[in-house]
Subunit: 485 residues, 4 copies
């Protein structure tokens, strides 16, 4: 087992800095070079995800977090006179991985078959005589759900940063291409022109909505509890509310106002639902690249290392949108991970354990993958090759058909019945010799309402592109100040 | 077909009043008595859901809503001088079901195979010469997505009222039973005592969180668009932004700041995700009743019409928690309905149509069922029979074992090592003659730390119930002012 | 309400003939022209699905089916001497919609709140003195689950026919285009050539696998029960097994060998899982058309009524793949419907009711939609416009790059190291003047291993197309005899 | 366990024996005692799942499997004269982990960013001059999908054994308790008596259906391909079909008759759908134990290590159904894993890559967890404590109400109208003094049709239990011979 992966210790999961090192293209298929890796099972250990996020959820980090909750509990109780002050201090000083190892906890769990009991005994051992004040009055879920709240708060911080990075990458691309003409496509068919920047600004606005949702949800998600076996706090005696408040204040989160033995699982399900929503956007943005990079369209291309990267083992000419396909694939999995938390909400009475095992898997996996998706999209959109000449050519290729809408509206406002105008244009655009402009100029019905110069002007895509560019500006103008907040 | 179902016309879907008539028990299996019903296919037409919600989504209501958007468009354009004022007035006067029938639209759609085109032609026919100004500059999705926003806004209003009703029913029950002692249950096993009111207050707080989520989401959901074929507004010319603003102001919603041909589908998926979350709580609350009503527990019973209702066709003695089972069943379906909207987010380019057909089914079905679930829960919890004597007896039956936690904590704070205390109690509660109190009083280890009187006091559940009652009060005190808002 | 929908009565749901009338293009948006329709809520009543399938699940058909089970029960019991022979005959003669109306059952259900009780009382009323032998010894679920088995058996018959129709349509198209050259596409990028027929033959083989799955599953699905309140048959006394066998023999299905109060729900979930699988294929086949019909590709087009159909209300030139988008949309919903049956498997003890309500909705909706999907695909693929000239041009456009694989393999077998050959071709295909053929002919490395004539031959797509055509033949040759079975 | 599973070099994943060591109770929380473990992220590496299954999917095993496909390819080609015989032999001799390490492949992948290319280069390096014949004519997916087929075939073997073990455990328990009287429960309410053995026999029959499904699906799942870039085999020249047949024969699987670049994904989705179905049964069987182990019911208890295991950290008396709760939790996750494969079916054209990344995670995780679920259920049901005295007492407690059905049927067959009899009993069972037997004996209506002795006999549960025991025998008699196959 690759010991270089062990970064935790209390500061470890508060990394802050985000060394997305050398980027995802380099990272795709760049596991640690070691044969120890041969025994690994889960591709999230070596193939997908950033090291820093993996470290956040490593067994060591999780143990460290649980220990910090025990330390906060002893401290809060000591403040209220329930636990001797020096005992609380001793506990705080040993509640870390230097004194309590994963190995020792594992050993104890083998005989006790209860993970929190094992952890608290290992901590008590480390604390010597002060050990009997460890976990005082608490039930296991007080510790684990509070530690989970800390973990999820960190995760939200990371994912919010990811969303911000992606909004910035998109906004910058949109600004650059605010007036780059591109054909709009609906139903896979050419429609009227837009600007490429407008397309991207729409995406930026969508990602911004996710950031708002994340902000709204955080106060509901980052809640722990220190309220005993059934949530009433009875086990802590008269100081129950004060103990809980003291613990949460120390840890920088708040308390569930009405828990059972555990914190309400609607909070978790709301979070994984949001991850599913983000995955939906991620898949949309990845699909857009995959489609625009098609051989027949080729308006954009995701970054590719020309010098070394191999597209296909037999078709050497291929340049596949691998990152975008990868994002599409993983997004589906993030979406699937939203299901178990919804079912976990249906707890029996004051709690059952049926949420526990799948949460241990679902939450780290879904968070790591969501971070991975977002990071890859940042890389794709930051490094996107945009072929604006090709975009322009595609509009021309339509010979004006793309602008038929414009003609329709002009005819209508000149007095032609809408149905009639629509019918006329439907026929004209279905074919005939010459471009639509030519056919339209010589069509008697159209001649009756519009001069040849008007027809030419109406079929010029520039008006449409200008409208798109101006709306792009308005969208970006609204995003900027919000990002700064 | 029972024509009394047709309530729409423009005012119809703004019903306001909520005649949940004679309640769900009466309603279960109370379809209209008519043989026309024999040809119906979907159980939501006759078996599940309230008439008023069904009317909101009837074909007639949906047509009326779409017509009202066309009217608002003409009015906004006339204000900007794009459409003659009297044309706009004529359009407004005929944009309703008295002048445009579902039948006529159907007829036109049969040849055009385009629903919005059919509707706008039918409206144009009704408007006579003013008809050529109908739908001016708009694309179909401008009309349908704006109408959908109106519909969803109404739906949110209804569901928010449902949530409020349920919170009220729960809060009132919690208040009544704030100090009704009941055994807490975790893992299906007896734990320490709570009060029944506390259990219910926890549920009330959970439902309140959904109401907050609904409030946060509404401004993102109730957005329409009037921005043409690809969202840039180009088709409306220089007045594009003003037209859109004028339409939305008239309809009381806002505009998507960055649409494609359609409004961003993350908004819809966020909403159906919330319905799934509400369904999770609904299933939890229904499951709680089903479990507490088990023959062996029998602490509560859902309302039952003793005089007439039949529990089983062969087992005449049965009294089944039918409403709660029904809620459980339908909740699963509401949850499933959250999937298609997540996949619909992955639109190709400026839109594909792949969201359209399933949205037509998913949204009305999911909304009607969620309203149905909530209404049934209100009925169940308002009419719940609570057997507090039976609850008390269950605590007694444990002979004090339920209070072992209390003893554990006392022993620990008197200096016994936690592990030792835990071990001692584990052994004592595993059996032996007499109640736990008796065994504990005579146990040498315990005698060494606690007096017999202390043991008796510690094993009295009253302390636990008091803590639960006080926490119930605090939870309810926080709910009340928020409900009034 | 369109009374022509009412076809039921016992023969109704055994329709046999399948008048898919005038096809789906005509049917899209072709509801009955009547204003009664304005009160309808569910789009499956008027917008999606075939009339014959809708009739199969109408309330009337469902009641008729349940009555037929009661008749079979009385007959089986009379054969065993448990019920007087003339009573059984009377019951059989009135167990139909002529004597027992949906309206009367509704009326009784309003007071009894138990649907089967209501039905059996209505039947007893109709049977006069013989009425006391109605439902003798049975529990409600004996009747409803057995009726459900009849319904599902019919549904399987319909869907199997749909699959057969689709396989035939695909096989015929594949045969026609066995050697129509088309570029293969992987990752959205041009790969090596295939034939269009090969692509379609692959689809036919996939649909055939679903037909096999349907055949394997049917004997597990078409099982009823007549085994009383908890599945042991105790209520029927010593004749229990014989009663059950007699009923099932009369109805042409078999009995669940080990039921609880209900038939095992894994059977239902297996079926809806298969519908989800079929929906996956349907979405794939629809997506293929949507992609190949893109403006930039335009190799195929789904049928479109040139004379009347409107593509877009503002863009008169558009010709959208509406049917294929519609199939995509509904496929997502069919997939979602697979979730509740999986959760329904988790019955408590000898049954809970939590499967009941959602099954009433899920099964008819999922079946009707699956039939609809398949019917639409038949129409799309039968009427598909295939532009083989355009396909050929697309291969040419690549200037030989599509055939680089062929060169790679030749170079390798002539002794060039694979990595070197791959590297050489990667560079050559990345660009330069002239076609790949020209560049390859003059490349010193290639010249060292291949003559110019060999290079030209290797870059001729004909070899690839021939291989595709021959494999198409083999696939079709295997399908034909199986279809005849 | 079939030792033939071990086909490759590397001892690690060739464990062979299946040391389900000391069972799951011991295993819950029994990770390897090592601090290296602190860096692990995925709980499937250390907390859930059997070592032998984990080894099957380790990176090393997967590499070994891929190498074995390359070896089979070279051998098949050499037989056809396409590759020199000694080159094929050299390749076979180095196509294992002794010559090609995970580390070297990783290293190459870092520059090539293509996993199969990296593997084939590493293999070519190891093969020296013979290396240029490695991967000859193949596309990456030929290798990976064929290796996947091998992997899935192994997985099916394991899971089929698990199902067999569970059927055996259930059948043995059912036999032991064929006549152990227990109250039947529907809707959570007491119904008529069954035998505990009958309940378990029903479960055994359900699991047996899964084994049949697994057998039916295997031939569709264990298919590879060796058919080049788009499935037509063109790249292999005239010998294409023979090469493919030769490879598959060597590997013991068959070939997809109609692949694209990849094997049809309906095969994978069918498999994960079946895992979801198995998970449904697993959750049902776990839920049954959780419910029957409730404090108030306590008819069964899952195995528990009295001497050491801790139920709760604060409530020392607790004995929770931990294994069953764990199974419930993980079953939900297995179900969720069925979603991505359904979406993966929607491949674009001859393939996209959007299935790839999620399959790498979904398949190993879902298989490992399904094996885990089944293994835990075997342990639970093998070691189940059954309290038949408590079961008998529960029937008595009902005072005969459980047998009301029996009375109803007798009254009906003596001529009382069914509705009247039902009504009479409904009233009698709703309460009054004495047992139902006493009330029934003195009820005038009943007295009119039945003698007091008859009433007593009818209310004796023994008849019901006898029927259950006999049906249990019949079910088991049908299972035995099938298991032996």
């Amino acid at each position: 087992m690759n010991s270089s992966r062990v970064h935790f210790g209390f500061p470890a999961f508060g990394l802050g800095g985000r060394p997305r090192a050398n980027g995802y293209i380099a990272a795709l298929g760049s596991p640690a070079v070691t044969d120890d890796a041969a025994s690994l099972f889960c591709p999230l250990e070596f193939r997908y995800g950033r090291e820093s996020v993996r470290a956040l959820f490593s067994r060591g980090s999780r143990l460290a977090r649980v220990l910090s909750v025990e330390a906060a509990l002893a401290a809060a109780e000591s403040e209220l006179g329930m636990v001797p002050r020096d005992a609380a201090e001793t506990i705080a000083s040993v509640a870390n991985l230097d004194h309590v190892s994963v190995g020792r906890v594992d050993e104890l769990e083998r005989s006790l078959r209860h993970d929190v009991m094992a952890m608290s005994r290992a901590l008590a051992e480390a604390a010597g005589p002060a050990g009997r004040w460890v976990h005082f009055g608490a039930t296991s879920a007080d510790i684990t759900d509070t530690a989970l709240a800390l973990e999820l708060k960190e995760a939200v911080g990371i994912l919010r940063d990811d969303l911000t990075d992606l909004i910035r990458a998109l906004a910058s691309l949109a600004r650059r291409h605010r007036a780059t003409a591109e054909i709009g496509r609906t139903h896979g068919q050419h429609g009227v022109p837009i600007s490429f920047g407008y397309k991207i600004a729409v995406a930026a606005a969508e990602v911004l909505r996710h950031r708002r949702r994340m902000d709204e949800l955080l106060p509901r998600l980052a809640v722990g509890k220190m309220a005993g076996a059934v949530g009433t706090g009875a086990g802590f005696g008269p100081h129950a509310a004060a103990v809980e408040a003291g613990v949460m204040r120390r840890l920088g989160i708040s308390a569930d106002e009405a828990p059972t033995q555990i914190v309400g699982r609607d909070r978790i399900a709301e979070f994984t639902n949001l991850l599913a929503l983000i995955a939906g956007t991620a898949e949309r943005l990845a699909t857009e690249v995959r489609n625009l990079q098609r051989t027949e369209i080729a308006e954009v291309a995701e970054p590719f290392d020309e010098a070394h990267q191999v597209g296909s083992s037999t078709m050497a000419q291929k340049r596949n949108p691998m990152l975008s396909e990868n994002v599409t694939s993983l997004a589906r999995l993030v979406r699937a991970f939203a299901l178990p938390p919804l079912e976990n909400m249906v707890q029996w009475h004051e709690r059952d354990l049926a949420n526990s095992a799948n949460e241990r898997i679902v939450l780290p996996h879904a968070i790591l993958l969501t971070d991975d998706l977002l990071g890859k999209l940042v890389e794709v959109y930051r490094g996107l090759t945009v072929d604006s000449a090709r975009m322009a050519a595609e509009i021309d290729r339509s010979g004006g058909a793309a602008m038929a809408e414009s003609l329709l509206l002009a005819l209508t406002s000149r007095g032609l019945a809408r149905a009639e105008a629509h019918e006329r244009l439907r026929t004209l655009t279905r074919g005939g010799a010459g471009s639509l402009a030519e056919r339209a100029r010589t069509d008697p019905t159209i001649q009756a309402h519009l001069s040849p110069e008007e027809v030419v002007a109406l079929l010029d895509p520039a008006t449409y592109v200008r409208a798109a560019a101006e709306k792009t500006d308005r969208i970006l103008a609204a995003i900027d100040p919000e990002l700064r907040r």
